[in-house]
């Protein structure tokens, strides 16, 4: 118990110095927690939006289709069979499933034309899987078998459409012939998923299939599971059961780009943390050197009285750990307060974008809230502590190796 007591006493000799050095570490932790919290919030909301509005927890589709899915092709579609549906129904943790058909549409308002994505939905089953209905701001969902369509309020605004208007949808069938659907707009939605609002039109599945001359083919099944994690585990259960070209894809594989972007963001956060902590490390080195210089005579005396070099090194490392601890605790408290303020007010995505409509590719709009994670608190706290101790080793060795006689003779 002798060394720890010595460490604590030494730390309290220069309270101000200890405090401001700890402050650097505290700032590093604060910045990390804030950025990480914001990113976590953004991630969480992004995935929630993608799952609830775009990809569901799990998709079953032809693997050749999946590779080209962004181009909305009409080949490699799948024909629903009882067998596939029985397999889907047998999946553990399934809540609901639906069929969808994605196709490419040129939406025409009589003057201008805009390429958008058309999605054929099963009006009976779709609401059990997707949240679209909750985001309707006016009108209603299309009814099965009708030529009714719904679209984002922003898209309607751009094309001067109102509820009750007819949107002419120019499509190309699987046989390369052109066809049109006169869709009556019966509902407008405003979802938190920007690309859905800007460029997607929903139409009853049977109408889409008939107009595209596709029989009962669909592009994919979408499954909703009891919870998100199930979507990933169910892929492994489903894949061996499905016949070859068909595959199951979880929400993670359908949002590869987003995941890549988040990883990149993660690296950037780490770089910021590393920069601030490097400055903190220099601060720690400086503090240890300063206290060693100040205590030269004391150290000489201790060594003369039989204290070993190792113990002196431990004292200084202990002091650095103390500073790291103080800084860490300050940083965690500051970070928690900061996150609390974040979450109390929320951040409007448009302020981050300078009032514009830019979302940096994140499928998020409106107000976002930061996420909390004990793991990131623990990580950054131990990281700060580790860096403090590591930084102190060399100056501590330097101090401990001083010759006792010279040290006492310091002045």
């Amino acid at each position: 118990m002798f060394l720890p007591r010595l460490v604590i006493r030494n730390l309290s000799r220069h309270k101000r110095r200890v405090f401001i050095t700890a402050l650097i570490i505290a700032f590093a932790i604060l910045v990390y927690i804030m950025i990480e919290g914001l990113m976590m919030g953004l991630t969480e909301i992004s995935f929630a939006n993608i799952i609830n509005l775009d990809s569901g927890h799990l998709q079953i589709t032809d693997r050749n289709y999946f590779a080209d899915r962004d181009e909305l092709p009409l080949k490699n579609l799948l024909t629903p069979t009882r067998e596939i549906e029985e397999q889907i129904e047998a999946t553990a943790g399934l809540e609901a499933y639906t069929r969808r058909l994605d196709f490419s549409v040129n939406l025409n308002n009589g003057i201008d034309e805009l390429p958008v994505k058309g999605v054929g939905i099963d009006p009976g089953k779709d609401p059990a899987v997707f949240d679209l209905e909750k985001h309707l701001i006016s009108g209603r969902m299309p009814t099965a078998g009708s030529r009714e369509i719904i679209m984002g309020a922003r898209l309607a605004d751009l094309m001067d459409f109102e509820i009750g208007d007819y949107g002419i949808m120019l499509i190309r069938t699987a046989e390369q012939t052109f066809n049109t659907i006169d869709g009556e707009i019966v509902g407008l939605f405003n979802t938190p998923h920007p690309s859905l609002n800007d460029s997607t039109v929903f139409i009853p599945l049977s109408t889409a299939q008939a107009s595209l001359n596709l029989g009962d083919q669909i592009s994919h099944y979408v499954l909703r599971m009891e919870e998100r994690q199930r979507g990933i585990t169910a892929v492994e259960d489903l894949n061996p059961a499905l016949n070859d070209p068909l595959r199951a894809y979880s929400w993670r594989s359908t949002s590869e780009n987003l995941i890549y972007m988040l990883e990149l963001q993660q690296i950037e956060t780490q770089i910021v943390l590393a920069i601030i902590l490097t400055i903190a490390a220099v601060g720690i080195v400086n503090t240890v050197i300063l206290s060693a210089l100040e205590r030269m005579e004391e150290l000489g005396m201790m060594k003369a009285m039989g204290m070993r070099e190792k113990e002196i090194v431990h004292i200084f490392m202990g002091e650095a750990a103390g500073i790291g601890l103080i800084g860490g605790i300050m940083g965690l408290i500051m970070g928690a307060i900061g996150l609390y303020i974040f979450n109390h007010y929320g951040i409007d995505m448009s302020t981050l974008a300078g009032g514009g409509e830019i979302t940096y590719g994140f499928p998020v709009s409106g107000t976002i809230y930061a996420g909390w994670s004990i793991a990131s608190f623990v990580f950054v706290f131990s990281y700060g502590l580790f860096v403090s101790i590591l930084a102190s080793i060399f100056p501590a060795l330097w101090a401990a190796r001083k010759d006792p006689i010279k040290a006492i003779y310091h002045r």
Binding site: D112, E113, T278, V282, N286, L293, I358
Partner: protein
């Protein structure tokens, strides 16, 4: 003063290790600042020039209605002359205005190519090939073939777009589009060039064709969807804007909108806010680094309490003691900032050739930014980091120096 400088320098060398660590802290912060500034400058510069080249020009003239509907690529709201003058007369008159060096007409419309499997959507631009080459960086990106020349039915496309429609330079392609009268038509073009660019827009969405061909096919003779004005200096564009606006309103051109490049995109405005925010981040970083210097200085002051007492007893004024310590802190700041700016500059210089690849992360964003960002090496950034380092560190050195200066000589002398 010379005397004080001498003492300050001599004092610095009393404990070299201590000085070295403080200098190191400042140097590191300055390295980060110089490099970060270079990187951000590189990013912002490239975004600005992308927006200017492929969206806004220095000043953009278009129909008021068109501004809201740019995404639609509508042909219903065109620039088709002013008062009773035709478009080419209007262009000539604009060219006579002060500072305007070039008037670039563009006709933008939506087109599609039908392949066996799908209908590939693209954005077609009717352009004046020579003017585009002069104004944009297309020449460097045109990796195969040549730019379109007027009068011919020919197109230049991006590499990714060519891959999607499965064609090569030298082959022919049939495109379908809607004319200004909303009739659906098709035309066949020779592919005469291929563009390979870091900018996703150029690589996978755009197809260039001669403007007269586009006008002819769309029934838009003497019309453009927009006019881009190029001035002699983009920073002066804001000064030339009033003359352009005057010209428009003097010729009954109220339906036209003249926009400076900065207003054209919310992303540019965002970058400008970002630039300012980053300057605060730099200051914050240096403040953290100068904590190390403050620590050192506090210790120095403590160590030399007796010395200070003696000096003030011998007649050195408070002001001089203050100066002495600020000079000592300042000297550390100068050395640290110098080393930092040189090292940061070297780092930026090397990376400015290699670039930092953001890969596909940017492709999905609805902004014009290249996927590889080249930090911009400029002496300006070195000087910025150097001066900011000196100013901030010297300012923070005032705190301990003030403490030293305010010591009572009798008390200080007695301190052991």
């Amino acid at each position: 003063m010379k005397f004080l400088i001498n003492i300050a320098l001599k004092n610095m060398f009393r404990n070299k290790l201590r000085t070295f660590v403080s200098v190191l802290a400042i140097a590191f912060a300055v390295i980060v600042i110089v490099f970060a500034r270079g990187l951000i400058d590189g990013m912002i510069e490239s975004s600005y020039s992308m927006y200017i080249h492929y969206d806004t020009g220095h000043i953009k003239i278009m129909d008021q209605e068109y501004e809201q509907k740019q995404r639609l690529l509508s042909l219903a709201y065109t620039v088709d002359g002013i008062a009773n003058k035709s478009l080419s007369e209007m262009e000539n008159e604009l060219l006579k205005l002060e500072g305007i060096e070039m008037v670039i007409p563009r006709v933008k419309f939506g087109a599609a190519v039908s392949t066996e499997e799908e209908l590939v959507q693209m954005m077609a631009w009717g352009v004046d090939g020579q003017k585009e080459l002069k104004f944009t960086n297309l020449e460097r990106e045109l990796v195969e073939g040549r730019m379109v020349s007027s009068g011919n039915r020919e197109v230049v496309m991006g590499t990714e777009l060519l891959r999607r429609i499965d064609k090569n330079v030298g082959e022919r392609v049939t495109m379908v589009f809607n004319t200004a009268y909303s009739s659906f038509q098709g035309a066949t073009f020779d592919i005469v060039g291929r563009i390979e660019s870091n900018l996703p827009l150029l690589n996978k969405d755009l197809v260039f064709m001669p403007i007269d061909t586009a006008r002819h096919l769309l029934y838009l003779e003497e019309e453009s969807t927009e006019l881009l004005l190029v001035t002699d200096d983009r920073d002066k564009a804001i000064n030339y804007l009033p003359a352009v606006k005057n010209y428009l309103s003097a010729n009954e051109g109220e339906r036209y909108l003249a926009q400076e490049w900065r207003e054209g995109s919310s992303f540019i405005q965002l970058l400008q806010v970002g630039e300012r925010i980053y300057n605060f981040i730099y200051i914050f970083l240096l403040l953290l680094a100068s904590i190390v210097v403050i620590n050192t200085m506090v210790m120095i002051v403590n160590e030399r309490t007796q010395e200070i007492g003696m000096m003030s007893a011998l007649g050195l004024k408070k002001k001089d003691i203050l100066k002495l310590f600020i000079l000592e802190g300042g000297a550390m700041a100068v050395i640290g900032s110098f080393i930092g700016s040189i090292a940061g500059g070297t780092l930026t210089y090397f990376l400015s050739d290699i670039g930092i690849n953001y890969g596909t992360a940017i492709e999905d964003m609805d902004i014009l930014m290249t996927t590889i960002i080249y930090p911009n090496f400029k002496l300006e950034h070195l000087i910025f980091g150097f001066s900011l380092g000196i100013v901030i560190t010297s300012l923070t050195a005032i705190i301990p120096a003030y403490r030293a200066a305010n010591m009572d000589p009798t008390e200080a002398l007695r301190d052991i």
